[in-house]
């Protein structure tokens, strides 16, 4: 509550500083003329406002982290805390109870010992809150005064404001990068723990997958952690079956859209295709599990197969292929459109037909871009989770028969993490190792694809 008020106060002070600085700058401007000013008056306003708001906000953030620690230290130093149990669960719960009452979030204490602590807590919270508010205000005031005094006609307020904006933008982009690094680090850490229990060789090259979360965590059976069937299932569903569907359809639709479609047709076919990319993958999952998979099973039955699986790799792969079509199509579309019009004209002027021009000039010229698009599509397909979780099975089969049930890396990650094993059991930790392998593979594919695309672009610039 007081935090909100404090932040509002900071903004209010900032506004006051802004107005004051701007009018001061206007006064300078009237006195010495517009050409003598190094910046517009509003920039002086922003400069002062930043000097008020930024220190205040930073201190509020700092204080909301440090403050509670200071409060508990103060409470623990009080005589009432001497009776507390030395450590452990009881001590923590009493402190928490007393604090809750002191802050008014709990009505009363259960524990008598806690009651004695309420008063010290109330006093400490009040005191540190007051200190916080005072220091915040002082900081804002000092910052404002300092900045205000720097306003002179030739003061380059604009440059400083611009620089501050740049720093803010830089911090925003760092957040994304640091998050990626953090995710990567946590994956690596857990993967190393897993490889401490199961030999990486057994994991990467074993052909039997069947971790048992109920077995003893101390000495896992390495022969149950062979991930080859998962890798195979992932590649078979995501990179083979899905691509057999997505590459021809995506490429052909891109060729139609760039070379044959009239603008009016293109205007509605292209958005329709993009909507396909916007369908949540869980919806594709329903479609695969409820419509495609049973249809394939019925077909297999009609063809005379005995007891076909209802969770075939084919169903998941087909639907995933449909999902990927827009990616292949839009990448191919971009690469074909990037081939200069002069190539196309040159070929047409030789008397080539549109399809000859596409086959012999445009597609070969656009090939690097198309290949890169396909690699991005594969990387997306093998990382795709919902479709396979819903339509593929959890049975790890090493088979080339598309009608057989197969599982993928992502399915097993979900299965292992949502299982009943504890977080230090190798079965659970194997999810991190699988995720790590998947991460490396998709990262590699994306990296290569982006490099290819970059070189391709350079070739035509």
């Amino acid at each position: 509550m007081s935090l909100t008020i404090l932040l509002l106060l900071a903004l209010g002070l900032g506004l006051a500083g802004w107005l004051a600085a701007r009018s001061r700058a206007w006064a300078f401007r009237r006195a010495s003329g517009a050409s003598a000013m190094a910046a517009l008056p509003s920039y002086h306003g922003w400069y002062v406002a930043l000097w008020i708001v930024v220190p205040m906000v930073l201190f509020i953030a700092l204080w909301s982290i440090v403050g509670p620690h200071l409060v508990s230290q103060h409470v623990l130093a009080s005589p009432a805390a001497a009776d507390l149990p030395a450590f452990g669960f009881q001590r923590e719960s009493m402190l928490a109870e007393a604090r809750a009452v002191a802050m008014g979030t709990a009505p009363a204490v259960f524990n008598d010992q806690a009651r004695a602590l309420v008063e010290p807590y109330r006093e400490a919270i009040g005191r540190y809150q007051a200190i916080g508010i005072v220091v915040t205000l002082i900081l804002g005031f000092l910052g404002g005064v300092w900045a205000f005094l720097r306003i002179k006609p030739d003061f380059a307020a604009r440059t400083r404001v611009e620089r501050t904006i740049m720093v803010v933008l830089l911090l925003a982009s760092l957040v994304a990068i640091l998050t990626t690094l953090g995710i990567f680090a946590s994956l690596v850490f857990e993967t190393i723990r897993f490889f401490g229990m199961v030999n990486p060789i057994d994991f990467l090259f074993g052909t039997h997958w069947g971790p048992d979360p109920m077995s003893s965590a101390a000495n896992p059976d390495p022969s149950r952690y062979g991930a080859i069937p998962l890798f195979w299932g992932t590649i078979y569903i995501g990179a083979i079956i899905a691509m057999i569907v997505a590459i021809p359809l995506g490429l052909m639709s891109a060729i139609y859209l760039t070379q044959y479609a009239r603008p009016s047709v293109r205007a509605w076919v292209k958005p329709a295709l993009e909507i396909l990319a916007g369908v949540p993958t869980v919806v594709y999952g329903y479609f695969a599990a409820l419509t495609v998979a049973p249809a394939i099973r019925d077909l297999a039955l009609a063809a005379g197969m005995s007891n076909p699986s209802s969770e075939s790799a084919l169903a998941a792969g087909l639907v995933m292929g449909v999902m990927i079509i827009p990616f292949v199509s839009s990448m191919a579309d971009d690469s074909i459109a990037a081939v200069p019009q002069a190539m196309r004209d040159g070929s047409l002027a030789m008397g080539a037909t549109t399809s000859e021009t596409i086959r012999r000039v445009l597609v070969p010229a656009a090939l690097p871009g198309i290949v890169a698009g396909i690699m991005l599509a594969i990387s997306r397909a093998i990382g795709e989770t919902m479709i396979v979780v819903m339509a593929a099975s959890t049975a790890a089969n090493l088979s080339a028969n598309p009608l057989e049930a197969m599982t993928t890396v992502t399915v097993q990650i979900v299965a292992m993490l949502t299982g009943e094993g504890s977080f230090d059991h190798p079965a659970t930790l194997s999810a991190f190792a699988l995720g790590f392998v998947l991460f490396l593979v998709t990262l590699g594919l994306n990296f290569i694809a982006l490099r290819v695309v970059k070189r391709f672009r350079e070739a035509y610039e």
Partner: protein, 263 residues
């Protein structure tokens, strides 16, 4: 306003004739009732300020304007007595007979050999590898490029210099043995030395093919052509022997343009 045609044009066989040709981009008229005979044995130059429609008119001669959806052509263009827009002749045949060289060299991203072999292949002109080799060699020789590239026919066409690329494009056009070659400012992206080579080449090709060249450079028109047509604002203002156009222009606008008063 009709085109002024110089009276002392000698009677020569016309390869292509345009009669009252107008071109529209949507509602905008880009070419306004142009009539001209393109002689078989001469180089014809189209000159005029930017945006006067000379390139647009050139592109109607092999129907390259078909690739622009909003473009519409009215009037009649005849190649050896056949209307190229309305007869049974299709664009594939037409473009095999009327080749084109573009403003910027545009070799395909293929080998030098494949660039030349492209046309003969799609039109089925060669039976077997030997015939194709012969066509490639003759075309490169006629384009004056053979000696420079004969040892590296498998290199990429895009690795050649700008002037060589443009000669490669001319060789590519020659390879299907066209009757007319259209050149749309073929030297505007080249340096003076490469330009001189292309002009020399045009002189050599003159007589074997009917050549139409669009150019911004009046010196170039004077050097390489025997017939000149001056275009202005979508109209053909004046047409005659190149020497007459440059020494004795009949129209005020032509005179202003060639003396450098505008454009």
């Amino acid at each position: 306003m009709v085109t002024v045609i110089h009276p002392n044009l000698d009677d020569t066989e016309a390869k292509m004739s345009a009669r009252d040709v107008s071109v529209f981009y949507g509602d905008k008229m880009a070419i306004d009732h142009v009539s001209i005979d393109i002689p078989t044995k001469y180089v014809t130059a189209f000159i005029g300020p930017s945006g006067c429609g000379k390139s647009t008119f050139l592109r109607t001669l092999n129907r390259m304007n078909d690739t622009i959806p909003s473009a519409r052509v009215e009037g009649e263009i005849v190649l050896d007595g056949e209307d190229i827009y309305r007869s049974k002749m299709d664009v594939v045949q037409l473009r095999a007979r009327v080749g084109m060289v573009f403003q910027k060299p545009n070799p395909f991203p293929k080998t030098i050999y494949e660039n030349i072999a492209y046309g003969p292949r799609i039109h089925g002109l060669a039976e077997g590898k030997q015939e194709l080799d012969a066509i490639v060699e003759t075309s490169l020789q006629r384009a004056g490029l053979w000696n420079e590239v004969k040892d590296r026919l498998e290199d990429s066409g895009t690795a050649l210099s700008g002037g060589q690329q443009q000669r490669l494009c001319i060789a590519r056009a020659i390879a299907v043995d066209p009757e007319v070659i259209l050149m749309d400012e073929p030297c505007s992206a080249l340096d003076p030395i490469a330009t001189a080579k292309i002009e020399e080449l045009i002189d050599e090709l003159n007589g074997r093919y009917a050549i139409v060249i669009v150019t911004h450079s009046m010196q170039q028109a004077a050097r390489v052509s025997q017939r000149t047509a001056f275009f202005h604002l979508g109209k053909m203002v004046e047409y005659g022997r190149t020497s007459d156009i440059f020494t004795n222009p009949l129209e005020e606008r032509t005179k202003d343009y060639i003396t450098g008063r505008y454009g």
